[in-house]
């Protein structure tokens, strides 16, 4: 909404300067990023051994943080959307790209142990190896951009279902689906507490 205050428009196509968002948008990003980073570090998910412990299936801190966030956000954002306060931001479902991209991401996740958000948090707490991962992320993003035309023509169309959600598959009322789903995830969290893991 506040992102149209750009220095250059699309007409200036020879300019090498990136667009810059409005000050309000930049400030919001800074404030929410500070809170996000603070929470990630306090949640232990900036730590190499906590992230690697999750992938080795002995430390479930990452899953506990993620599922608690999902339960809270699913209920909260559903109710806010119902009240007309927020818009949804559903990413498209493309089976081949989600599957291949997801597995590639997972392999990289294990190698670096940091994911894009927790890597920034890891750097903040003094894990300097996160810098190597961040440089890799920038290089990988450009590499993807090089291939993006081919991927969008050849991979993205495979199993392209558009912006589908579980609501489209379940006959229940949206609120019932969200509540049931939140209850299911709480059940998963309780089951994890019973397991002999952290």
């Amino acid at each position: 909404m506040s992102t149209t205050n750009d220095h250059s428009n699309s007409g200036a196509s020879t300019e090498a300067r990136p667009q810059v968002a409005s000050e309000g948008s930049l400030l919001q990003g800074l404030v929410f990023g500070m809170i996000f980073g603070f929470l990630l570090q306090k949640g232990g998910v900036a730590k190499y051994h906590v992230l690697m412990g999750q992938l080795l299936l002995v430390d479930f801190t990452v899953v506990k943080v993620m599922l608690s966030a999902v339960v809270t956000g699913a209920l909260g954002i559903h109710l806010m959307h119902k009240a007309g306060l927020v818009e949804l931001h559903i990413k498209p479902t493309r089976y081949a790209s989600n599957l291949i991209g997801g597995l590639l991401f997972g392999i990289g996740f294990a190698l670096s142990a940091y994911c894009p958000g927790t890597g920034a948090a890891a750097l903040g707490q003094g894990n300097y190896d996160a810098i190597a991962m961040m440089v890799g992320m920038i290089a990988g993003s450009y590499l993807f951009a090089e291939l993006s035309g081919w991927i969008s023509r050849n991979i993205d169309p495979i199993g392209d279902r558009g912006k589908i959600t579980l609501h489209d598959y379940l006959p229940a009322h949206r609120t019932v689906t969200v509540a049931g789903f939140a209850a299911l995830l709480c059940g998963v969290l309780i089951a994890i507490e019973v397991l002999p893991v952290r």
Binding site: T3, R17, Q19, V20, A21, S25, L26, G29, F32, M34, I35, F38, L39, L40, Q41, K42, G44, V50, L55, L57, M66, S68, A69, G73, A74, M80, H89, I90, K91, S97, L99, G101, G102, L103, G106, I107, G108, F109, S112, G117, A120, A121, Q125, G126, N127, D129, A132, M133, G136, M137, I138, G140, S141, Y142, L143, F144, I164, L166, F181, L189
Partner: protein
Amino acid sequence: MSELSQPTIVFAEIDPLKYAGPAWSPYLVGVLIGVLSMVTFYFSNKPLGASTAYARIAGIIGLLLAPKHTRSLKYFKDNPPKVGWELMLVIAVVAGSFLAAWSGGEITGQYLPAMWQERFGSDSYVLRTLVAFAGGLLMASGARMAGGCTSGHGISGTLQLAVGSWLSAICFFVGGVVVAKMMYAL
């Protein structure tokens, strides 16, 4: 005679749990991140996500070094390089995490994490650099292809019950568990 066979499996005993866990309850932190995502939906009309920031930096560098070529790429046509909300978010994550670690006395200040040293040696700087770089390269390619990362799909997408986000998030962990086990448990 059994002593000879012992050293070959010694690294299988690396235990991540002997290092310090989270400072706060992961449930408390998770609930607060859930509330934060409601706040960003409301105030910024954006979901929390981290991987886009790196693509923005890649695009900005690309504009400096090869502006014409960079602008010709489909991804940067659809997502023009921009100093915006997403980039500020990730830069601020570094600062927010520093404040949290500093206030909790958890600043590490080291290049090689302790658990990595235990497995790959205390002088494995080059190996760690290459592995972390390769990890970043694969994560960025995978995240862009799948449409998001552990934040964008794993939290923001799954909480909207998006099918592709759940599929992607599950694949993140399937790929991650297999490779982590190969690195540490085999």
